[in-house]
């Protein structure tokens, strides 16, 4: 939990979203302090994806507030949220497979520099230095000329991270950043995100299934269950919480991850 003196970078109050008969979110509360690396966990169907898509503007909440850096942004279009400093990555790797690795970053940098409507100058030489710096940060500097679609899955995730960082976000939302990766690759990948976020001063909120990944990097953990916050606190507090252990029925949460 955070002290009252810190102004949260992201504060969510009473967020609700219903799909027909299903109450996907039933009044979610969340406050993320600057510099946090917050994990959102919960069993399948807990509402993690809906929560994420509502914060990032892909879904409009039925009620509740999403306050980003002091402004209520609930229902704001996704592209405007990004311009205000809230970046995101997707569960399913999402980059531009037909474009080269370098062009993937140039596109993100052009958009960030608001060059979308520039229709005369050649784009090929624009932002190449910054693109290279970002590729260097995520360890893809050697692959700049390759079509992004030909990269290995883990490298595509790195590229997606670089694309998100190109927009200089102050808050980065990562939806299952290690989905589809092998076990040891996951820790490596989340550690890279953690290192870069710390280095660049970016606060992070991420959803994750793999408890080993969560406990490796999270500063605080929020547990969602049936569209509500079941528990919240430091990794040690959450691990010791009997409610949480009940929800993960038959699974004991340890620092090594979920043992089945």
């Amino acid at each position: 939990m955070m002290s009252a003196a810190v102004i949260p970078i992201l504060q969510v109050t009473a967020l609700a979203k219903r799909f027909g008969g299903l109450q996907a979110l039933g009044g979610v509360e969340l406050a993320v302090a600057p510099g946090e690396f917050r994990a959102i966990i919960g069993p399948n169907g807990a509402g993690k994806s809906t929560f994420f898509n509502t914060i990032t503007g892909l879904l409009r909440p039925d009620s509740g507030r999403v306050i980003f850096e002091g402004r209520d942004v609930a229902g704001t279009a996704p592209h405007l949220l990004v311009r205000q400093g809230m970046g995101r990555t997707f569960q399913i790797t999402s980059m531009f497979p037909d474009l080269s690795v370098r062009e993937n970053l140039q596109v993100a940098l052009l958009a960030h520099a608001r060059r979308n409507w520039s229709i005369w100058p050649y784009a090929r030489q624009m932002h190449t230095e910054r693109a290279h710096e970002l590729l260097h940060l995520v360890g893809l500097a050697g692959d700049a000329g390759l079509p992004a679609g030909t990269l290995a899955h883990g490298d595509q995730k790195r590229l997606e991270l670089a694309i998100a960082l190109a927009g200089e976000p102050r808050l980065l939302l990562l939806d299952e950043p290690t989905a589809g990766m092998a076990a040891q690759e996951r820790i490596e990948s989340i550690s890279l995100v953690h290192r870069l976020a710390t280095q660049l001063g970016v606060s992070c909120v991420f959803t994750e299934h793999d408890m080993a990944v969560v406990f490796a990097v999270a500063t605080n953990i929020t547990v969602l269950h049936q569209g509500r916050v079941l528990a919240e606190g430091s990794p040690a507090q959450v691990r010791a919480n009997p409610l949480v252990q009940q929800v993960y029925l038959g699974e004991s949460i340890t620092s090594e991850g979920v043992c089945r």
């Binding site: 999402s94 596109v107 958009a111 090929r124 998100a164």
Partner: protein
């Protein structure tokens, strides 16, 4: 780059010398090729770069043609002035119509986007057919003639060339620009483009309006050469033409669709001059194209080289 310069110079020389080498009939065909090359390339800005398949692009070609025809025949202007203004008038009219059609169409993607463009085009076709007082209905508008020396095929050819080449250059700069790069990213992954801070619909709408404006210019150039414009130019069957041209030439290169237009127009002239079975020949060509060379003629040339 080093190979591109001599090819461009050679191409420019060949285009400039063409009227001296061929008969008036083939100069007419060459003008048609120029107009349809511009049409196919402007269409491909949407398809090949933006990943948007418009089923109603004939609407813009037709609107441009009607705008030029009405300006020349019914605006009561001096012929020279009307002739000087028709390219701009055609582009403005097509852009306006594209802005309206695009406003609704870019709200959907894929087949639904295509069906919306299709539906709007049928509306315009019906107007062209039934607003007899303005459009001449089924009879169309005939007797269009450029003033003075421009009526000579060779002179009009140079006029069309002087419009088509700069227009193609503008489109080339467009697709190579930041705007065009983001357009290519849109074809690749629209959702991701949204989350780098781009308003996807506005971007698609802008591409749609620009594409429509140049298609309108192409339609007007062709109308002034052929001397008439008919409602059939806006019919849905006419919207297949730029699709076939672009796919024939190759959608992944800038000038591929222009090459496709040239091959299509010349084949049509040669085959329909000998037999009434041009649609049959076109069907066979499309089959061969999709089955044997899905990347089009330019794709075939590229595969040979590597």
């Amino acid at each position: 780059m080093s190979r591109k310069v001599p090819i461009a110079l050679g191409g420019a020389l060949a285009l400039a010398a063409l009227p001296f080498a061929i008969s008036d009939f083939w100069i007419f065909i060459a003008i048609e090729v120029l107009a349809f090359a511009l049409y196919a390339v402007s269409f491909n800005v949407l398809l090949g770069y933006g990943g948007m398949l418009s089923f109603g692009h004939a609407a813009f070609f037709g609107i441009g043609a009607y705008a030029a025809a009405l300006l020349v025949k019914k605006a009561g202007m001096a012929p020279g002035l009307a002739f000087a203004l028709f390219p701009l008038a055609a582009m403005a009219a097509a852009a306006l119509v594209a802005a309206i059609i695009g406003f609704f169409s870019v709200r959907r993607s894929g087949i639904y986007f295509g069906m919306l463009t299709f539906a709007f085009q049928m509306l315009l076709y019906t107007i062209a057919l039934k607003a007899t007082g303005l459009t001449g209905g089924d009879d169309g508008i005939t007797g269009l003639k450029p003033p003075g020396a421009f009526a000579r095929p060779a002179v009009y050819y140079y006029f069309a060339l002087a419009i088509t080449v700069p227009a193609l250059y503008v489109l080339y700069r467009l697709v190579s620009s930041p705007f065009g790069t983001i357009l290519r990213a849109l074809r690749s992954n629209p959702r991701r483009v949204q989350t780098i801070g781009v308003n996807v619909r506005s971007h698609q709408l802008a591409a749609f309006v620009i594409s429509g404006a140049f298609a309108g210019l192409a339609g007007a150039l062709f109308a002034m050469s052929s001397g008439n414009v008919f409602p059939g130019w806006l019919n849905w069957t006419a919207s297949a033409t730029p699709i076939v041209m672009a796919v024939l030439g190759g959608v992944s290169t800038f000038l591929g669709p222009a090459l496709g237009a040239a091959v299509y127009v010349v084949l049509e002239v040669m085959i329909s001059g000998r037999t009434e079975y041009w649609p049959l020949a076109m069907g066979v060509i499309i089959l061969a194209l999709v089955l044997l060379m899905p990347a089009g003629l330019t794709g075939l040339a590229r595969a040979r080289r590597t």
